[in-house]
């Protein structure tokens, strides 16, 4: 700790995305495509009759339990796509929801820092801005995949034609009761509104930030605070509602009032892990000279704390359902804990381990939160862990007993590569340090 009043001269520094880095991103995408193709081939030829029969039997058992639990279920089952196609559609949706949610966290994090008048995070502000670069492609992909759902209604059971029509064989009284909210036009309008708002406010904050870089002064800062406050109000509502729409409506008979927060917690902790990982990688590549272990310590505290927060929400949801043991609620955990011949059981426990036990024990000490290697391991674990958390939210409801991993990981890698290309592109567009931010000096002298 040198002095408190000392002024350091800060100069703009620009990220140069090297050809090697670009090649690596392309390699990630290519690896993803290869895995995707391999996965499709395995699914087409290698699956074998045994597994398919087993899956069908398990699905049948689940349907029977489902029908018993839900009174008035007509039981009219529609034909779904071939497993490989269904898996591609579901995992496109899965990875897109994960990456879009994480992307939005960049702006959310920045907005919270603005509203809180927080100074420490200024050195990682540009990473947050860049993280939100995925929102526009996220919206496009989401609309496309929602369209793909209508090939065979693989994703959303409530979109099956006639399910809300009393005269139809597919009629389902419970789903019909939700028709005021879950109907296709309103759903698409909502999707566009959520992402539209997020994109608008992201752009607004980014523009203010870039104008501040050029002109300096505190006017942009005060304006950013107003914009951030407004954004957070909208985000608080839209993040919960988007979680109902995009994730919870997959299990359309089931509901949980906590679900919006649970999904938000998952996005939030992954977003912070992504920012931390990016900051460390930039630092190790020789950028961000102002980023000290004090900043990493704070990011580590965020990861540690919000891993516990996620677990708190997970457990709050689980325990009430476990205790009350009402069939229409516990079917959700039945499927995940031992359902479909226990296909998802290991994942559920593994998920709790990677997302709670591991960060909790590893990041507990102060020293661990200040070491790059520890933070790197934990943030990668959190990102993988929460991707599989979303896997666990989507797959039992859609793929039932026919889930797999090769196609899903392949698609996730394609998303990762594209995400990184867009993110680094936006990172390179502006100085990595917001040189005229009024709190920059505070951030430079941040100590914990």
């Amino acid at each position: 700790m040198a002095t408190l009043t000392h002024q350091e001269s800060v100069t703009a520094e620009y990220l140069e995305v090297t050809p090697g880095a670009r090649k690596n991103f392309m390699l990630i995408i290519i690896a993803g495509v290869v895995l995707l193709v391999v996965g499709v081939i395995v699914s087409l030829f290698g699956g074998g009759g045994h597994e398919a029969a087993e899956g069908a039997a398990a699905a049948h058992g689940a349907t029977a339990a489902h029908g018993a639990a839900v009174a008035g279920h007509g039981g009219g089952e529609h034909h779904s796509s071939a497993p490989w196609l269904k898996r591609i559609i579901v995992s496109l949706w899965h990875s897109n929801v994960f990456f879009t949610g994480v992307s939005a966290i960049g702006t959310v994090f920045m907005a919270i820092q603005y509203v809180a008048y927080a100074g420490w995070s200024v050195v990682v502000k540009r990473i947050n801005e860049a993280l939100s670069a995925w929102l526009i492609p996220g919206l496009v992909i989401m609309l496309i995949v929602f369209g793909l759902n209508f090939i065979n209604y693989d994703l959303f059971h409530w979109t099956v034609p006639g399910i809300m029509d009393k005269a139809d064989a597919n009629y389902d009284a419970i789903v019909a009761g939700k028709s005021g909210f879950l109907n296709v036009p309103f759903y698409v309008i909502r999707m566009v509104i959520y992402l539209g708002l997020w994109i608008y406010f992201t752009k607004r904050l980014r523009d203010l930030s870039l104008a501040e870089d050029l002109n300096g002064g505190t006017a942009y800062f005060h304006k950013s605070i107003n914009v951030s406050a407004l954004f957070l109000v909208f985000y608080a509502v839209t993040s919960s509602m988007s979680a109902w729409d995009w994730v919870m409506s997959v299990d359309v008979h089931w509901f949980s009032t906590l679900f919006g927060w649970y999904v938000f917690a998952s996005w939030w902790v992954s977003g912070i892990a992504a920012v931390t990982l990016c900051a460390i990688l930039l630092k190790q590549a020789g950028y961000l000279p102002l980023l000290k272990d004090g900043h990493l310590h704070d990011l580590g505290k965020f990861m540690f704390g919000f891993s516990i927060f996620w677990t708190y929400l997970w457990f709050s949801q689980f325990m009430l359902i476990w205790y009350a043991n009402m069939p229409e609620e516990s079917v959700y955990f039945n499927q995940r804990l031992g359902g479909f011949n226990g296909r998802y059981t290991w994942l559920l426990y593994g998920n709790l381990f990677v997302n709670f036990v591991f960060p909790f024990l590893v990041l507990m000490t102060r020293d661990a939160k200040r070491q790059m290697i520890m933070l790197k391991i934990v943030s990668i674990a959190i990102l993988i862990g929460h991707w599989s958390d979303f896997y666990l939210m989507f797959m039992p409801g859609t793929m039932k007993g026919e889930n797999g991993f090769i196609i899903e990981i392949g698609i996730a890698l394609i998303f990762l590569g594209s995400f990184l290309i867009l993110m680094t592109k936006r990172l390179a567009q502006a100085s990595l340090t917001p040189i005229h931010h009024p709190f920059l000096d505070e951030s430079v002298h941040h100590t914990t």
Binding site: M1, T3, L4, T5, F315, F318, M319, W322, Y323, N325, M364, T365, R366, T447
Partner: protein, 174 residues
């Protein structure tokens, strides 16, 4: 045992912070600094090692967790088994909230008590205070002195670094 202290009185925290650095650089060992409020960075400036309180906290927490689990498993599983909501006698998910609460309870009470004990902040007949103004608006730097100390030089160092007055005080049982 009676100890003698030279007390540098400072008016401003920034001045004090720089004084702490310069006085230590001049080779004077600072006994302690008393301030009306916590000053950011003064621990580093004084060269105080980090507290080991978190280690104690971890073990307090572990004690609380073990106690909570033992209590519930013993009571509900062996001493007086009851069927509640059709769940098994030892139903771990139901025990987690209580275990969490007792972990936190043990951890924070243990930490506060430990902190008070090692800082000697327990109730006493006479509380030793070097300069009562350090509880109001003055920053007090205490330096232990003995017969061999060159008081003129020490006073000069403190004055040069912004002390508004330099006093001496004897204190027993400190």
């Amino acid at each position: 045992m009676t100890k003698r202290f030279a007390l540098g009185i400072f008016e401003d925290e920034d001045v004090l912070l720089h004084a702490v650095e310069n006085v230590r650089e001049a080779g004077v060992k600072i006994y302690e600094v008393f301030t009306p409020f916590p000053i950011h960075g003064i621990d580093d400036a004084l060269g105080i090692e980090r507290s080991r309180l978190p280690i104690a906290a971890f073990f307090f927490g572990l004690t609380g967790l073990s106690f909570a689990l033992w209590m519930q498993i013993y009571m509900l599983g062996f001493d007086w088994p009851m069927i509640i909501g059709g769940k098994p006698h030892i139903a771990l998910p139901a025990f987690i909230p209580v275990s969490f609460e007792l972990t936190v309870l043990f951890c924070c009470h243990g930490m506060v008590i430990t902190f008070y004990a090692i800082s000697k902040l327990y109730p006493r007949w006479r509380t030793p205070v070097l300069d009562v103004r350090s509880t109001d608006d003055k920053f007090v730097m205490a330096i232990e002195v003995n017969e061999n100390t060159d008081m003129n030089k020490l006073t000069q160092i403190l004055r040069e670094n912004g002390a508004s007055e330099v006093n001496q005080k004897e204190m027993s049982k400190f």
